[in-house]
């Protein structure tokens, strides 16, 4: 069960993506630090205000993710068989689910520090992995890796790995079993239902 702990602490830092700078490692570092600085000062987020945390993630983190590619990878083979409208719906629902997860993880942040490992990349590289780790006293540090691809002048995150657990891979089996049972529309419906139930429980608080 220890990986779960790593997973949680990892999610805390998921918020760290990329900034406008050209070097991908600099961007990841800047966004991470910026987001954590905001969380450190924000009592609402610390006390579990998910809506506020979602706002922060939407504003600072989401612009640096390529959700289309993330969703395509998580859906796997069935992605190309899906219609454009289905693809759009899948990417939207998956995005909503992930944003909420990260936002919640941010509300659990407690003074961990993040180290970044130096990035070795050639100027011609268009696909890089940034390694970072979260340090916390009394526990093994947790590694967070971001996979990024060059998208025009920008770098976009298309997967990230927390303590060895890839976000895309973690959803692949869940998606494929749902598609096998009820088709692509079934998966869209179940993602919609999931998001709606999370909204409803958030509204109750």
């Amino acid at each position: 069960m220890k990986w779960v702990m790593g997973f949680l602490a990892g999610l805390v830092i998921c918020a760290s993506a990329i900034a406008e700078d050209s070097a991908p490692d600099v961007m990841v570092k800047n966004v991470t630090n910026e987001v954590l600085e905001i969380v450190k000062k924000d009592k609402d987020i610390q006390s579990g205000n998910t809506r506020k945390a979602i706002g922060l993630v939407e504003a600072k983190v989401i612009p640096h993710f390529n959700f289309q590619r993330m969703t395509a990878q998580a859906v796997g083979k069935s992605w190309r068989l899906a219609t454009a409208a289905q693809q759009k719906a899948l990417a939207e629902e998956f995005r909503t689910l992930l944003v909420r997860t990260y936002a919640n993880a941010l509300t659990a942040y407690k003074n961990q520090t993040v180290d970044f490992k130096p990035l070795k990349m050639a100027p011609t590289d268009t696909d890089v992995t940034i390694h970072s780790s979260i340090r916390q006293p009394g526990a093994k540090s947790i590694d967070i890796d971001y996979a990024l691809e060059k998208d025009g002048p920008d770098w976009k995150v298309y997967d990230f790995t927390i303590g060895g657990i890839s976000m895309v891979t973690s959803y692949r089996d869940q998606f494929s079993q749902q598609i096998a049972a009820d088709g692509v529309d079934g998966l869209i419906k179940s993602l919609q239902a999931k998001n709606a139930s999370l909204d409803a429980s958030a509204a109750k608080k």
């Binding site: 790593g6 990878q73 993880a105």
Partner: protein, 250 residues
């Protein structure tokens, strides 16, 4: 190394076999009941059995373990909880060191034994993690990882009653972990039981914040935990740098 004589060793092994025997009987029973439904997922050939055990474990957690952990979190102040976690973490560091040495990572093992030395003395029997404050980092090792390092493949994914997810390799690792656990070897039974329960509650309490994240993120909690577990263990065997696997579905 832990003062276990050969005789005691045999007793511990026997006790373990006795403890595991009902489990394997349960395994057979569940297989018969569920027909060990093949899921078609090559990663999880005994998914039917595993899902049944997963549901059982979830029930136990929900009705007993989690409420106790929540009570512990609510009544014991954070510094005291940290102390308890550090105390058990210090004992664990001995095993981490042994496993690092068994894996041929002697400098890491020395690091771990150094942690034990510092935390047991300066950290007052391990209640304070002084070593981390000094920058001597904690590792994560166990016998399952050691077997993996020695070349054993993970084998079938199994969800055990109470012990939870393991691969066959990690199940073997668990047996050794349990046999080598000094707390399990304490002769004073009431004291041993108090320590075992305290450790369980302390470990569970540390995971409480993760519950919400998993509940919210997972479409199917069973698959989510399985895929997380398998990836995590693979990563740990390679100390965070597993060889890249082609995961594309092209």
């Amino acid at each position: 190394m832990f003062g276990i004589t050969h005789e005691k060793d045999a007793i511990v092994k026997f006790a373990l076999i006795k403890r595991l025997a009902p489990l394997s009987a349960l395994f057979m029973l569940a297989c018969t009941l569920t027909g060990c439904a093949t899921s078609g997922n090559p990663k999880d050939p005994i998914e039917g059995f595993n899902r049944a055990m997963f549901a059982f474990n979830e029930g136990v957690d929900k009705t007993v373990i989690k409420p106790v952990a929540q009570g512990y979190e609510a009544t014991v102040p954070q510094p005291a909880r940290n102390g308890v976690a550090n105390f058990f973490g210090n004992i664990e560091d001995v095993f981490i060191g042994v496993n690092n040495v068994l894996q041929g990572k002697v400098p890491d093992g020395i690091n771990d034994f150094g942690r034990v030395l510092v935390n047991t003395t300066l950290g007052v029997f391990g209640f304070m993690d002084v070593a981390s404050d000094m920058g001597v980092e904690k590792h994560n090792e166990d016998f399952g990882q050691t077997f993996g390092r020695w070349g054993a493949g993970p084998g079938t994914y199994v969800v055990w009653p109470l012990f939870g997810p393991r691969t066959v390799r990690d199940s073997a690792g668990l047996v050794v972990d349990l046999a080598a656990d000094p707390i399990g070897a304490i002769n004073d039974i009431p004291a041993r039981n108090i320590l075992l329960v305290t450790r369980l509650v302390s470990d569970r309490a540390a995971l409480l914040p993760a519950d919400k994240v998993i509940e919210e993120a997972a479409l199917d909690k069973y698959s989510y935990i399985r895929d997380g577990y398998l990836q995590r263990r693979r990563s740990l065997v390679y100390d965070g740098n597993p060889p890249r696997r082609d995961e594309s579905n092209e």
